[in-house]
């Protein structure tokens, strides 16, 4: 402990002594230093002497001087405080801080609804009100959803109807087209059949006529310019012409 005070510098000891701030141990160290260190003791003596002279020093005779000249208020006005050093600024800051603290502590609630602002205190609404608000919100949402669905459904229905109409038209067109084709084909078939039948009949009648001719030739005499339909020289166009 004593080492701690022995290591303190002369300057610090002197300063503590002059400011009258020496504690007991420092005072002991100071006195010890004065006894052991002659230079330090002489400096203490010098300080003491200076202090005494200063304490008993008389004032100098004050000369007359132009005191009012120092009051240059016009000049002072030019260096008046800038706006950011306005004394009201700290005060307004404090006021704003208090307002902010008040808002936080009181749970100030500001609501904006339908273009209106409403300021209220206390963010905790009653449960009943919350339920009502939730229900109202849900109903609104449902109504909105229904309206949207109806519009979408009407659009879908319209699209479906249009599509069905188009399909029906296409089907009718197809049916008409296809029935015409079929009928054309049936007629062609029928005509072909009739033609075939006619050809067969003609062939049959030709044979009948040939047979009848032969019979006649047997009975009346032979007719050499006639050819049999079964021979290779028979011309079917002859039958048609006939």
């Amino acid at each position: 402990m004593s080492d701690q005070y022995e290591s303190i510098s002369n300057e610090d000891l002197m300063a503590l002594w002059l400011d009258n701030q020496l504690n007991d141990k420092q005072r002991a160290a100071f006195e010890q230093r004065c006894l052991n260190d002659d230079d330090f003791a002489e400096l203490v003596q010098s300080a003491n002497q200076t202090s005494v002279i200063a304490d008993t020093a008389k004032d100098f005779e004050l000369p007359t001087w132009d005191k009012e000249n120092s009051f240059n208020f016009e000049k002072y006005k030019k260096v008046s405080q800038p706006w950011w050093q306005w004394q009201g600024l700290p005060l307004s800051s404090v006021v704003c801080s208090f307002v902010a603290i008040f808002m936080v502590l009181t749970d100030l609630n500001i609501e904006s609804r339908d273009g209106r602002f409403s300021i209220g205190f206390g963010s905790q609404l009653p449960q009943e009100t919350i339920n009502k608000l939730v229900e109202q919100k849900l109903n609104d949402k449902l109504l909105e959803q229904q309206k949207t669905n109806q519009v979408l459904f009407a659009q879908y229905l319209q699209t479906l109807q249009n599509q069905q109409t188009e399909n029906s038209t296409q089907l009718t067109q197809y049916l008409l087209t296809s029935s015409r084709q079929e009928r054309r084909e049936d007629f062609a078939e029928l005509i072909k059949y009739v033609n075939d039948q006619r050809r067969d009949d003609q062939l049959f009648y030709a044979n009948q006529l040939k047979d009848f001719q032969q019979e006649l030739s047997f009975q009346v005499g032979q007719r050499p310019n006639y050819t049999s339909p079964n021979s290779g020289d028979f011309d079917s166009t002859q039958l048609n012409d006939e």
Binding site: N10, E11, D12, M14, A15, L18, D19, E42, L43, Q45, S46, A47, Q49, T50, S51, I53, A54, T56, A57, K58, D59, F60, E61, L62, P63, W65, D66, K67, E68, N69, S70, F71, N72, F73, K75, Y76, V79, S80, Q81
Partner: protein, 192 residues
């Protein structure tokens, strides 16, 4: 009647109240003149310096926040003004250098007050001592002289002096210690 505080007088002066400013001057002109006398050792220089100090104080009055004492703030400005004054008077002498010996005429202004019932002999001895000290102070470098002035005559603490001079407390202590060493030597020589 209640005397108004320095802060109140400052506020009044800032609003253009000349009376308040003159009252503020009357409170501190003696101590500022004493300071100026000890720093310059010449009465006409001291008068000029005092005038400069008060003009400077008035121009800076708006920057006084009242955080410390007005006296400390005043002596802070006084220090800068006297430093400036010293540099103008002795442009080739550093603030840490000892000035050349000058013909001191401090006694011209001394003994103007405080005679009253004080014993005339002790008064004379006191005056002689004061004169010797002040003459000795003039041989100190500016930076050491101002520390002696503020410590012994201004009665400021080391922290206050450090704040006024804009240096560390340890620097102030060192300057004072060095100044005391020189004072001792000079006084010894003068007494011999």
């Amino acid at each position: 009647m209640f005397s108004r505080s320095d802060q109140q007088l400052v506020e009044k002066a800032l609003t253009g109240n000349k009376k308040a400013w003159l009252e503020l001057i009357s409170r501190y002109e003696q101590s500022i003149f004493n300071y100026a006398m000890r720093m310059t050792s010449q009465s006409h220089d001291a008068k000029d310096l005092m005038q400069e100090i008060f003009i400077s104080v008035f121009n800076s009055l708006h920057s006084f926040r009242g955080e410390g004492s007005f006296k400390a703030w005043l002596f802070r400005i006084a220090h800068f003004r006297s430093m400036d004054f010293y540099r103008r008077k002795k442009p080739n002498v550093s603030l840490d250098d000892s000035p050349e010996l000058i013909d001191s005429r401090i006694d011209e202004c001394m003994g103007g007050s405080g005679v009253g019932s004080v014993n005339i002999e002790s008064q004379l001895i006191g005056q002689q001592s004061q004169k010797a000290l002040l003459n000795t102070m003039q041989q100190l470098p500016f930076n050491q002289k101002v520390v002696i002035e503020l410590k012994f005559f201004g009665q400021f603490t080391f922290d206050e002096i450090a704040q006024q001079l804009g240096v560390s407390t340890n620097t102030v202590k060192s300057r004072l210690y060095a100044a005391l060493g020189k004072l001792k030597t000079i006084l010894e020589v003068e007494h011999v």
